[in-house]
């Protein structure tokens, strides 16, 4: 990027993509509500919305990639991207904070309260306020489940994600040295680790549902467990898709040693997902 371009602002043309995105969310919300309320054909509308959303994302991101490859993004745009990605990750941190907050509140406050108040002694006298719990009402009805231990698949998954943090950094070093094969190899390994993680997580969920009686409905433990690990898993999926795009772009010869913020943004996101997992491993799987 030449210095001469840094004093010119980049202003994109009018674009259809945002309104297509709004149409997609409209369809997804209508379809989603119909599915939840068990109204016929809701699933098709939801799928259609999802299709439009994927179409929009491919179209919009392709346009941004074309802008980038045409050299329209100067240093100021690069700096805008850095600020905005940082703030976006901050918003993601706060999203997870809501669910971690729910975990702390129930574990530390509301479940113990359920075990000590007089009212509860009348309602559910047999309830022992320990963690993990499916709650006094479900337990009284004979509901049972096995909590998820830390040292089986979750420990392997921790190892996988931590390793992937190393491989993506190694790929970045390759990019900075203009060593394209190191970049591609590093990204490919990261993608493989991400895909393996998702596969193991899916296997763990299957096991929980079929063998352990641990479901979304398994009281507040099941709810916090699946919502926290589920949203994390979804973020790993999104991160993996982003890494795959970076891999394909690297193979296509995109990025230079100096100008590659898309790659950096994805690696920031990946490290963020990594940190969330470490917190999950300690607070959700290990300390129970």
């Amino acid at each position: 990027m030449s210095l001469a371009q840094t004093d010119k602002y980049f202003l994109p043309q009018p674009s259809l993509w945002p309104i297509i995105g709004s149409a997609a969310l409209f369809l997804m919300a209508v379809g989603g509500v119909m599915v939840m309320r068990e109204i016929d054909h809701g699933g098709w509308i939801l799928l259609a919305g999802l299709g439009v959303m994927i179409f929009m994302m491919i179209g919009w991101f392709s346009e941004v990639i074309r802008d980038s490859e045409a050299g329209r993004f100067n240093r100021q745009v690069d700096s805008s991207f850095r600020w905005s990605m940082s703030w976006f990750i901050f918003s993601e941190v706060m999203f997870f904070a809501a669910f971690f907050g729910a975990l702390f509140y129930t574990r530390m406050l509301s479940v113990p309260w359920l075990g000590e108040s007089d009212t509860m002694e009348q309602l559910w006298p047999a309830f022992k306020a320990t963690w993990p719990t499916a709650g006094p009402g479900l337990t009284a009805d004979g509901f049972q489940f096995t909590p998820m231990g830390a040292w089986g698949l979750p420990a392997i998954n921790t190892l996988l994600l931590l390793t992937s943090g190393v491989t993506v950094t190694w790929a970045h070093w390759g990019l900075k040295k203009s060593n394209r094969s190191q970049l591609i190899l590093g990204l490919a390994m990261t993608v493989a680790l991400g895909v393996t993680f998702i596969g193991l997580q899916a296997y763990e969920y299957h096991h929980a549902y079929t063998e352990m009686g641990l479901t979304l409905g398994a009281g507040v433990y099941g709810a916090t467990f699946f919502m926290l690990t589920g949203f994390h898993g979804f973020h790993v999926l999104v991160g993996t898709i982003m890494l795959i795009v970076m891999l394909l772009r690297s193979i296509a010869g995109h990025f230079t040693a100096e100008h590659h913020f898309a790659f950096e943004a994805v690696s920031w996101y990946w490290h963020f997902v990594d940190v969330v997992w470490v917190l999950l491993f300690i607070l959700v799987y290990w300390l129970i």
Binding site: Y9, Q76, L138, V220
Partner: protein
């Protein structure tokens, strides 16, 4: 405005879409700012009509006009729409128009995302409004969406939750855009501590939005899964706790009330120096006070929950931390008054609304201080005293500041002076009407009238009748506002570049109306 677009052919070597496609695909901050403002104006009348229906029902004790369940739908939707569909979009509209102009930037940092942030709002707004016609009607559990009520409702509850998600998405994208614009698009020489105060307040507001909107998204997601996917977040039988929703919700919603007022502080801090013809008194202290309010807003949330059951230490903590907010707010009020002190003041409509803001917002602030005292709040919780309090800060606070900003910048946007006589009529009818509606509500609340109930005991009749008369005066005087805006768009006295004698800042250096593209080469600020 299309003439202005052609005037810049050196930039516009491409054909701009016209008609409806111009607005659907626009990446221009001025177009998007106008879209936000028109959306807010439309929704103001929608949610305002709901308020008038509520007041009409409350004109007499007993049930007159509407079914109690519909009454609950009205109070819920009035709140949701006024917050998410009027005040917030109006401030976003101001930010879109003014932040680039005030910073000497050619546009927002991310013009395409800017478009999307706006065009999500009509989708969410449609979902909220259409729910009135769905089986079971619109949501009736209050804008705070507390479980278990919110878990028991029908289809419109799911739709409203998704509408909140979409509005949250819009706010987060809008805020990331604004914050990036402010941090990265300032003209050379325009350091942070030289920025106009409106920009400062929006910088801090955007931070609050990015920090809290995802928390709201999490809270309503838990509602959604409790409703449809068998989780027990808010169900004690499963080990959850309905009060937990209130904690998570108010962790979002207390910063949210500052989101609704900080940009208003910013607007008033632009208007008062202009018409007092003096620089703002204590600029740096204004910045620090705004930042302090934002920090404190994260540790006061449970003052909304003094009656739900909380350890006494927690009550004391939230009581005292809430009172602390009076300090930076007091600094601000002092600075506005000191700015006017010995100024060469004139009283055009924007200044009138700004002065009314300072007086009436202060009343709302004081009643907030009263409610911060836990033992008093336990008496007043969910009474009309609370209704009086938050309407003083949101109507004579946020909305009056929006009116002040609208009259202040309308000549810059349209190129025409608004009709000053009509503006004065709008001001006086609004300020009188507003006080007639909401001042008696203090007495009603102190006497124990509960809110969100369509019927009341006989002794509350007189004050309710006064309030209803005031509501209709206030409501119908907003038609004057509509007339003023439409007239200024169509024509009128040509506005000069500086518009106001005492106006200072980059936005007053571009012609009126502001051309379609401004500051394509950055100005240098000394």
């Amino acid at each position: 405005m299309s003439d202005a677009a052609h005037a810049h052919d050196d930039h516009g070597h491409h054909a701009h879409p016209t008609g409806i496609m111009r607005w659907l695909t626009t990446t221009n901050h001025k177009d998007i700012g106008s879209l936000y403002l028109f959306f807010a104006l439309f929704m103001l009348f929608v949610a305002g009509s709901m308020a008038l229906l509520i007041r009409a029902e409350l004109f007499q004790p007993g049930l007159q006009l509407v079914h109690p369940d519909f009454f609950n739908q009205l109070t819920t939707m009035h709140g949701l729409i006024m917050i998410f569909g009027v005040i917030m979009p109006a401030f976003s509209g101001f930010a879109n128009w003014q932040v680039p102009l005030m910073l000497g930037a050619p546009d927002m940092a991310f013009p395409r995302m800017n478009n999307w942030a706006f065009w999500l709002l009509p989708v969410a707004g449609f979902f909220l409004l259409v729910s009135f016609w769905l089986p079971g009607g619109a949501v009736a559990g209050g804008w705070t969406m507390y479980p278990p009520l919110f878990i028991q409702g029908g289809i419109s509850y799911d739709l409203t939750i998704l509408a909140v998600h979409i509005m949250g998405l819009s706010s987060i994208m809008g805020s990331i855009n604004i914050i990036t614009t402010i941090l990265n698009m300032r003209a050379p020489g325009l350091t942070l501590m030289k920025m106009p105060l409106f920009v400062w307040t929006w910088l801090i507001t955007a931070y609050l939005l990015i920090a809290t909107m995802p928390v709201l998204a999490g809270a309503v997601t838990m509602l959604l899964t409790d409703r449809n996917f068998g989780t027990h977040f808010f169900n004690a039988a499963g080990g959850g706790d309905p009060v937990m929703f209130q904690h998570i919700f108010w962790f979002f919603a207390h910063p949210e009330v500052y989101i609704l007022i900080l940009p208003a502080f910013g607007i008033v801090s632009q208007v008062i120096p202009t018409f007092a013809r003096k620089p703002l008194f204590g600029y740096a202290s204004m910045v620090y006070a705004t930042a302090s309010i934002a920090v404190l807003s994260f540790i006061v949330w449970a003052h909304h929950m003094f009656t739900v059951g909380m350890p006494v230490t927690a009550q004391l903590f939230f009581m005292f931390s809430t009172m602390l907010i009076a300090v930076p707010t007091g600094v601000k009020v002092f600075n506005w008054v000191a700015t006017m002190w010995k100024g060469s003041m004139t009283f055009e409509t924007p200044m009138l609304f700004a002065i009314a803001f300072v007086c009436l917002f202060t009343i709302g602030g004081f009643s907030g201080l009263v409610l911060a005292i836990a033992p008093v709040d336990i008496q007043l919780h969910d009474t009309y005293y609370v209704v009086a309090h938050f309407h003083y800060v949101l109507v004579s606070g946020a909305l009056f500041a929006i009116f002040a900003g609208l009259y202040y910048w309308l000549p810059k946007w349209t190129g025409h002076m608004y009709n000053e006589t009509l503006g004065k009529w709008h001001f006086w009818l609004s300020v009188i009407g507003m006080n007639i509606v909401f001042f008696p509500m203090h007495f009603l609340g102190l006497a124990g009238m509960p809110r969100r109930i369509p019927d009341y005991a006989l002794q509350f009749t007189e004050f309710n009748q006064i309030a209803t008369v005031g509501a209709f005066i206030f409501g119908f005087s907003q038609l004057i506002l509509l007339t003023v805006v439409l007239k200024a768009i169509k024509g009128g006295e040509k506005a000069t570049t500086q518009v106001w004698e005492g106006a200072e800042g980059l936005e007053w250096t571009v012609p009126s109306p502001a051309p379609y593209h401004t500051f394509e080469t950055a100005p240098v600020v000394k």
